[in-house]
């Protein structure tokens, strides 16, 4: 292998991001990326899996692509380029069929002996989902388990942020270039992942987020994880794609149950019916990992260190991370109102009726609860309980 082989690989890898192209297979077919690079259009078309259009695309990609400067530019951005044959290429990613040709990494990769759990779910999650993701994320950090997710709004980002806040390590898998922060609202999380965790993308730097790239990145999320935990998912959602990938790859799928009436839980309920493992706390997830894998002796010790008997009886509401603030700090009216609040938005009118409070008492109570952080307001005058 010559020294500049990596440049050809880099050129080839950065072709991804336009479409979902089986980069690996074509490279094998051609007998290496250097030879690919030097083929003309006619030769390209002769390769299996290369259409007229793709050959044009490859030829076009060759034009004006200065391999050396692009590659050094990528390194300068702090992105390392790891092709699949490199020793640094994560073992678990190599195991899956259709693994990426190469990955672009910012920050650090998890070591192969660190247990990883994917926490995935709806972007437009409910307060209940957000809270659950938050608790699971920080509790898993306590077990030194890596939280893998897609850095999306809602469940994904919440779980990852919580994990980082608890001092844990988290891995974000992007459907755009590793140097592109998407969604922009998660800029803080992105910056922290670069320092405290890792960011992986199979697409070249500068690739803009495209809807067609996201399903493909889901297979990397599941590839990295020992268990995929679904927090809230609609019937048709990206989360379900990740679950399918995980099952194909032989991973365990765990689900945090929701209410049967809630469309945000419809996907979860279906998974449970199909045999997914219900989990209600980080401890449940840990024991699932321990029972399925023998590869993590450290985790086994940690899990054994806690009193299992007690853990089993623990449900999320009583876990220490979420102990409700002293309800005794509430006035009788506030407590009465708190009782009729739900994890789903209820309008002020309804709450006022259900609590049986007069208008001024109700208004005072609801604003006091808001100030004290017991309720959150969605839209205008629609409230959900926080704890």
């Amino acid at each position: 292998m010559r020294n500049d082989d990596i440049l050809y690989d880099y050129w080839w890898a950065s072709l991804g991001g336009n479409y979902n192209i089986p980069l690996c297979r074509i490279a094998f077919e051609a007998g290496g990326t250097r030879r690919l690079y030097n083929m003309d259009r006619k030769q390209l078309v002769k390769l299996r899996g290369v259409s007229e259009k793709l050959a044009g695309l490859i030829a076009e990609h060759r034009e004006g692509f200065d391999k050396a400067s692009e590659y050094s530019g990528c390194l300068e951005k702090g992105i390392s380029f790891i092709p699949f044959y490199s020793a640094r290429f994560p073992e678990r990613l190599r195991k899956i069929s259709g693994h990426p040709f190469a990955i672009f990494v910012k920050g650090e990769l998890p070591s192969d002996d660190r247990p990883c759990v994917a926490i995935i779910g709806a972007r437009d999650c409910s307060e209940y989902g957000r809270r659950t993701a938050d608790e699971l994320g920080s509790a898993l950090a306590g077990y030194d388990i890596c939280v893998v997710s897609g850095m999306a709004l809602g469940i994904d980002g919440t779980a990852q942020t919580a994990c980082l806040n608890a001092g844990g390590y988290s891995l974000g898998i992007l459907g755009c270039g590793a140097d592109v922060c998407y969604p922009e609202a998660n800029r803080e999380l992105y910056d922290r992942l670069c320092l405290q965790g890792g960011i992986i993308s199979e697409y070249g730097p500068g690739t803009r987020p495209k809807a067609c790239l996201f399903p493909a990145r889901n297979r990397i999320i599941s590839a990295f994880s020992d268990v995929v935990v679904v927090v809230e998912a609609r019937l048709r959602s990206g989360t379900c794609i990740t679950v399918d990938m995980a099952l194909e790859q032989g991973k365990d799928v765990a689900v945090v149950p929701g209410r049967i009436t809630d469309p945000l839980s419809a996907g979860c309920i279906r998974l449970l019916k199909q045999g997914a493992v219900p989990v209600a706390s980080a401890e449940d997830i840990v024991s699932l990992i321990v029972s399925s894998y023998n590869e993590y002796p450290g985790l086994l010790n940690k899990a054994a260190g806690t009193d299992r008997q007690e853990d089993d009886n623990k449900d999320i509401k009583d876990s220490p991370a979420s102990a409700p603030a002293e309800e005794t700090s509430l006035s009788p009216e506030e407590r009465r109102l708190f009782g009729v609040l739900d994890y789903y938005a209820k309008s002020a009118d309804k709450l006022c009726d259900e609590s049986g409070l007069g208008i001024p008492e109700f208004m005072n109570a609801v604003m006091q609860l808001k100030i004290k952080g017991f309720v959150k307001e969605l839209g205008k005058d629609c409230f959900v309980r926080v704890l």
Binding site: R123, D124, C125, S126, L153, P183, A185, D262, P263, L264, Y344, A345, S347, A348, D349, K350, C352, D353, I359, P360, M363, N364, V366, M367, K370, I371, E377, L378, G379, K380, D381, C382
Partner: protein
């Protein structure tokens, strides 16, 4: 010999007196028409000439000059036809000396010699009365509208022949006398037909009591429009002066539509495609726009974020001053536009937020939707209420709801308290108009309440800018309860209604 009759011209909703002078002298048979005239006034020459001929009063073959004084104000409109004809007839000696004294003429002529009704007769009648003119001669179609002004004999005339015989004293015409209907009850929307929505009703009652601007947020079909339509019905009835003021605007706009007078609070609901000019007025003829037609009433903007930015931002000056000044190349005009703004919007593009089970919008879409209403505009809205879709159970609830008339009683009581409070302050009638200085004077808080407000505002993240809004609304709430001082409950309620959509 120069003959001279009086008429009136319209500028905005103001009227100015015009002297129409006619002179017949020897010379070439020409009809000269001067006095800074718009094209429709210049066309009057042909109408008058032909109408006179068709009424068997042929113009003499002499040099005829007609002047509209003052000659430095531009004249527009078709109301000068009748005074021109009267002045010419006078100069021809067809009508006796002195028969046009102390009389104001206005009306359009048709070629047959018949008179047609014109727009803006009410401001002309009001101006005539102000100038001590005793008699008003108008086309018969305009007589009912003009007769609203008392202390003025209004004669409705059919055609030129009738005009001549009337002025000659050959025909006797009774002055128009039918008294106008003031204080008409509102029809249609009534709060008693609205089930549930306790907090919303409370919100609009407070808004009506202090003439605060309101924004209603809620999903489609929740009843926002219905509630908005109820608002004129809980506002006090128009006073006679207000009726005349509002009717003047409608008269100028040609929007009276055979009504003699506007006796109900106006309710204007322009469609969201309305242009800036449609909103403010202007355009050809410098007509009043929606905001002036909503004067003393309600301007309801349904689907508020869908309105063009320009149309919405043009509301800012009128909301502050209660008037709109339109400046165009022909000069500038000012129309009154003191209205209560009632806005309605969906919480998100699809309308279902925060019901996550039905809403399909992303967080960014929701945020952008809320941001379509600019900060400065929201700063002028004191009350924001959420309107929730009713459940079926509640929709078919047969229990009696409070009617608009009962709510109006409380609102009226609050209004009279405010009149008392602001009696020595010209231009201020309602709590919503209080300046920061007035707020200091009328909304003083005790130590305890002040601390409470500070703590709440801080906790809820209410900026200092909205502090005055909170106090204004709290003052209104206290007025509604007949309290002299603002209590803790008033502040709580005010804070609740003050929080704007999108600030959470």
């Amino acid at each position: 010999m120069v003959s001279c009759v009086l008429s009136g011209g319209i500028r905005g909703i103001e009227c100015f007196l015009v002297r129409v002078e006619a002179d017949i002298s020897e010379g070439m048979p020409v009809f000269e028409l001067v006095g800074y005239l718009g094209s429709e006034v210049r066309e009057a020459r042909e109408r008058v000439k032909t109408a006179l001929k068709n009424s068997k009063r042929q113009l003499p073959l002499k040099h005829l000059t007609v002047n509209l004084a003052p000659a430095d104000i531009r004249k527009s409109g078709t109301g000068y036809d009748m005074p021109m004809a009267a002045a010419i007839l006078h100069a021809m000696g067809e009508i006796p000396q002195g028969s046009t004294d102390d009389t104001l003429f206005a009306g359009e002529l048709m070629l047959s010699g018949e008179f047609a009704a014109i727009n803006g007769i009410l401001p002309i009648a009001l101006e005539a009365k102000r100038n001590g003119i005793k008699r008003l001669i108008v086309p018969s179609g305009n007589a009912p509208e003009a007769s609203v002004v008392d202390g003025l004999s209004v004669y409705g005339i059919k055609d030129l022949t009738e005009l001549v015989s009337f002025l000659n004293g050959e025909t006797v015409i009774e002055p128009e006398k039918e008294p106008p209907v003031f204080f008409a009850e509102d029809s249609g929307a009534d709060l008693k037909y609205v089930n549930g929505q306790k907090l919303v009703k409370r919100g609009i009652e407070i808004a009506a009591a202090g003439m605060h601007n309101v924004l209603m947020v809620g999903p489609p079909g929740a009843g926002k429009s219905m509630l908005a339509k109820c608002i004129p019905g809980i506002l006090p009835l128009l006073t006679k002066e207000e009726c005349l003021e509002v009717s003047s605007i409608y008269s100028v706009a040609g929007a009276l539509n055979n009504r003699r007078i506007v006796s109900r609070r106006p309710f204007m609901a322009p469609h969201h495609t309305v242009t800036e000019t449609g909103m403010t007025g202007g355009g050809a003829g410098m007509r009043p726009g929606c905001i002036s037609l909503a004067h003393r009433g309600v301007l309801f903007l349904d689907e508020m974020p869908e309105f063009s930015r320009n149309a919405l931002e043009s509301l800012r000056q009128p909301l502050e001053d209660g008037r709109i000044t339109i400046t165009r190349y022909r000069g500038s005009l000012s129309y009154p536009s003191d209205f209560m703004l009632v806005g309605a919007m969906n919480p998100c593009p699809c309308g279902a937020y925060p019901d996550l089970s039905r809403c399909s919008c992303t967080r960014n879409e929701i945020k952008r939707y809320a941001e379509r209403l600019s900060r400065p505009l929201l700063d002028r809205i004191d009350i924001c209420i959420n309107v929730e879709r009713l459940e079926y159970r509640e929709m078919f609830n047969k229990s009696e709801n409070e009617s608009s008339a009962e709510v109006r009683k409380r609102v009226c009581a609050a209004h009279s308290l405010q009149q008392e409070r602001f009696r020595d302050m010209p231009g201020v009638y309602f709590n919503s108009q209080m300046s920061p200085g007035d707020i200091k004077r009328f909304c003083a808080l005790n130590e305890e309440e002040e601390q409470f407000l500070c703590k709440m505002a801080e906790g809820l993240g209410i900026s200092a800018r909205t502090y005055h809004k909170v106090l204004r609304v709290a003052r209104t709430i206290a007025d509604l309860s007949g309290l002299a001082d603002i209590t803790m409950d008033c502040l709580t309620e005010s804070l609740f209604f003050n929080r704007m959509y999108g600030s959470q």
